[in-house]
């Protein structure tokens, strides 16, 4: 006689109706509440990203404006205290800030799954 464990039909009959039911009655409501929170979190995250880009662009434009203004005043005699070194340092600082913020912003914007 064929052993039971090689008998597909035997196992199908044996295990039919062995599906479990979720024993937690509040599971559905709790999960939907969690999903709602998740949705709001995502919404907030996307809004924050948009704001981050806005302030990043504003900051970048301000930085460029500062550098342009400083270099303009550098040529006038009354602002002679603005040496070339200070101007170069300001340019380097602004460039570094732009690069660092841009890198972070790109990372966050294109890895939205990890919000």
């Amino acid at each position: 006689m064929e052993k039971n464990y090689n008998n597909d039909r035997y196992f199908r009959e044996l295990l039919s109706g062995s599906t479990r039911e979720m024993p937690f009655s509040d599971f559905e409501d709790e999960l939907i509440a969690e999903i709602r929170m998740e949705h709001e979190k995502k919404h907030l995250f996307l809004r924050n990203i948009k704001l981050s880009w806005l302030f990043f662009i504003l900051g970048m434009l301000s930085g460029i404006a500062i550098v342009v203004v400083l270099s303009f005043f550098n040529d006038t005699p009354s602002f002679s205290f603005l040496s070339d070194n200070i101007l170069s340092a300001a340019i380097i600082f602004i460039c570094l800030a732009i690069l660092l913020f841009a890198e972070k912003l790109f990372k966050i914007s294109f890895m939205q799954d990890n919000y």
Partner: protein, 185 residues
């Protein structure tokens, strides 16, 4: 039907997601339980799977059925949970050597309710991957190909696991029912 609700959810209707919860929660729980063998862990794994499915719903391309895609997430989450807590049971190694008492007919010994109880108990006592294979193939009635898609196992791996699972289940039931016989007579 699934496609319609996927569109609704993607358009921002959160309540439409309730359809998927209602439709698949029991099957997802059965799968998670077969791996984790604990109702609270299984609940957490299913909950996490639903949240991941919600997050990634936009990436679901419809190449497979939604249920196949979702159950793959459930299985991954359950296995992740199992790894995290290191709860894999290594019970059957010792039990596969039990003496074969011949053709066992569970229907002759116990009632249908008791039968379900013993089957549940036996599934809990066999290793997680075997229990998962058994659940997917015999309880959820998926084909070997669908199981391969859901679990990432190879076809031969699925067949080997099913064979081992049947043997483990058979031995486990024998052991449980021989105890039952002793208490009856």
């Amino acid at each position: 039907m699934d496609e319609l609700y996927i569109k609704k959810v993607l358009n921002g209707d959160i309540d439409a997601f309730r359809y998927f919860v209602h439709q698949y929660k029991d099957k997802a729980y059965t799968l998670a339980f077969s791996v984790l063998k604990n109702e609270f862990d299984a609940r957490d794994a299913v909950q996490e799977a639903y949240i991941i499915a919600f997050r990634k719903l936009g990436k679901f391309r419809g190449k497979s059925k939604f249920s196949t895609w979702f159950f793959r997430i459930v299985i991954n989450e359950s296995l992740k949970c199992l790894k995290k807590f290191g709860k894999e049971k290594n019970i059957t190694n010792a039990r596969t050597e039990t003496v074969d008492p011949g053709y066992i007919e569970i229907h002759d010994i116990v009632s249908r309710d008791q039968q379900k109880y013993y089957i549940d108990l036996a599934i809990q006592n066999i290793p997680s991957n075997e229990a998962l294979a058994l659940t997917l193939f015999y309880i959820e009635e998926y084909s070997v190909e669908e199981i391969r898609e859901m679990t990432g196992w190879t076809e031969s791996n699925v067949k080997v696991l099913l064979h081992r699972a049947r043997k483990s289940m058979y031995n486990e039931l024998n052991l449980l029912l021989s105890t039952e016989k002793k208490t009856l007579y």
